[in-house]
Amino acid sequence: MGSIAITNGTLVDGGGTRRADLLIQNGIIAEVGERLEGDTVIDADGLVVTPGFVDLQVHFREPGGEEAETIQTGSRGAALGGFTAVVVMPNTTPTIDSAAAVRQIHDLSIDALCEVMPSAAITVDRDGEALTPMAELVRSGVRMFTDDGVGVQDARVMRTALEYASGLSHLADGFEIVLAQHCEVNALAAGGAMHEGDWSSRLGMPGQPAEAEELMIARDIALARLTGGRVHFQHVSTARGVDLIRAAKTEGLKVTGEATPHHLSLDHSAVASFDSVFKVNPPLRTPADVAAIKAGLLDGTLDAIATDHAPHTRQDKERPFLDAPPGMLGVETAFAIANTELDADIEKLVELLSINPARIAGIDDRHGGPIEAGRPANLALLDLDEEWTITGAALASRSSNTPFEGRSVRGKIRHTIWNGDLVVTSGEATR
């Protein structure tokens, strides 16, 4: 692999925005300086150079759901979206709840276009009862546990998991293992297909009240206080959920939160079309919730933008809204949606898409910057002003269930470099 010089770019990595050239050699950033030359030269004049993005929540469907997505196609979309690392969720078939399943993910990731970090289930088969062999899973590289897709319903089980995980740092170079929760109390949300409110009432659709999310966030904050454990709140969608997390952070508890691009840009009125591309869990909420999610991201209550990239086949999404599976594509459009919809400068976006999620996932030794000599070369080169129109058919995913079909957005990934390898160049994946 020859060297790559990136010239005339503007570096944004949380350490002060500046203009500099980069030289990448043998997978690492060899030099940051002026007038650098390499075997390949990328003129980044007018572009922003950032640490590669990190997605805390994706479903690449492999193993078990390969018709909707594979790790290869999902990671290609991620690379096209500027991501150099993703955390894949354990709701595969089989569930990632053993070291063998983790190894399988590593094997399947051999040709991936970004780092694929497996998370593992908190409970065996994600059924909310018996704990997975967490120590063994941490030894095999897992840093985040989650029963994603369903919250751990039993407070006693969640308490035990938090306590147990808090004693595993010695297996993770001192990193505090994080439990990520899909916050939803099933007793209130079961059977619901959309947010419970004026639209669900009008459309005659069973709803999931915001309180189903709020209650579990409140419970897990209490359990974080009780156990001293680390909780990460996945895809927060409610205004009062944001408020609860804000208060918990003020109190000094070890909690973090994320929001998705769709929860900061779409509301439940979209369901009036009955197009199940708008079915997602947690559901699209009210405009007031959308505003609160944006505010939470901007004021630091929510630490990260994570996509919850959830491909589904055409035939699955063409079932009636009530019966269709929830989920939306996200990796390839996340930056553009955030750049277009959030009133944030690029420094803030890099925090939300790269620096903070890398820290939460325990991979900040290699992702999330800073851009300096000696660090692994995981970078995204962005054009903040390029306008383009999202079309599902043009995305790398095997599926096309984007809720942003036809939407005009601003901001495009031009190049993505993962471990020194140019995996996306001029907006095209190289493999």
Binding site: S201, L203, F274, R314, P320
Partner: protein
């Protein structure tokens, strides 16, 4: 009634007052056809209508079939076992299969709200919603309006209470819109557990106390109480429901002499309506069923028969030669 250029009937919200009046006028003409010795006209000869009933239905299905036959349409039944949804066949594959056989219209009933609207997105045939989940049942709404106007005339300022399980009722959603569009005052009456979570934007008033409005009603419209609601613990007992929310004999006595008692059927006598009350002269429940055929003839004729031009009564009369 238009969507994507084709003509459909998906929701009462698709119809303005003029649309409804046109349909009700035409219904009157077709009701006369029903009284003839041979109640059949060639209005839809050569047209093919498919029944796509994903949910069990007896009365609505028979009513549509009778309407189609009186209009001389060909009909075909796509047998949908409820399990085919569970087997995962996409709705789109199903409708494209049927459409490939050549159809002019499709009448859809589905347990999922919005399914007929999705079907309308995927076919050029006219789509008629015969009930989708808790969402809409527009031909029921129209036959109820026809029945009400045939007794009460203009509905402007008339007061209707829709009583019972509003939350899970497509009939209630269609009728709340339909009666309000025709100028009636609509009150929804039921316990909070049987009301939708939000009524923002609904043209209605709400009460939990039927007795507070019963004396002044022009129409007392009772909804079927699903017996499983008791198991789901949204009402304590059906006995209590009858006592608090049902049209008991005592409440029926308080209705004005001209006030109508209506019910979409099938009734649970002794639950939402006292057995004896259902047989009173001002209970027009079987009349609703009879009118269902005429209203569905009007809807089928308007969507499939006369092209896109509004049909005036004289033109219809001219086209209604006895077959």
């Amino acid at each position: 009634m238009r969507r994507n250029g084709a003509r459909h009937l998906l929701s009462m919200a698709d119809l303005d007052r003029d649309d409804i009046e046109q349909i009700l006028n035409l219904t009157g003409s077709f009701a006369e056809v029903g009284e003839r010795s041979i109640p059949k006209v060639p209005a839809l000869r050569g047209k093919t209508i498919a029944w796509l009933f994903y949910e069990d239905s007896t009365r609505t299905r028979l009513s549509f079939e009778t309407a189609a036959k009186r209009l001389s349409a060909d009909t075909m039944n796509f047998s949908v076992s409820s399990s085919s949804v569970n087997k995962g066949e996409s709705l789109r594959d199903t409708i494209e299969t049927i459409a490939a056989m050549g159809i002019d219209g499709v009448v859809v009933r589905h347990r999922a709200a919005g399914a007929p609207q999705q079907v309308a997105d995927w076919t050029d045939a006219a789509v008629i919603n015969a009930g989708d989940g808790w969402h809409q049942h527009p031909t029921q709404g129209l036959l109820d309006l026809y029945t009400a106007t045939s007794h009460l005339g203009d509905l402007d300022g008339k007061h209707i209470a829709i009583v019972g399980d509003i939350k899970h009722s497509r009939v209630a959603r269609s009728n709340a819109i339909g009666f309000a569009t025709m100028g009636a005052r609509v009150t929804l009456a039921g316990p909070p557990t049987l009301l939708p979570p939000s009524l923002d934007g609904w043209p209605v008033e709400v009460t939990h106390d039927l007795d507070a409005v019963i004396d002044e009603l022009d129409i007392c419209y009772l909804l079927r109480m699903q017996l499983e609601r008791q198991k789901q613990a949204v009402v304590p007992t059906l006995r209590e429901y009858h006592h608090e929310c049902g049209l008991t004999s005592a409440r029926a006595d308080r209705l004005g002499a001209e006030a109508l008692i209506m019910h979409p059927g099938p009734m649970n006598r002794g639950v939402e309506i006292a057995g004896e009350v259902a047989d009173r002269p001002n209970a027009v429940i079987t009349e609703q069923v009879a009118n269902g055929v005429s209203v569905r003839m009007a809807v089928l004729f308007l969507l499939l028969g006369a092209g896109l031009q509004p049909v005036d009564e004289s033109a219809v009369g001219g086209g209604l030669a006895v077959a």
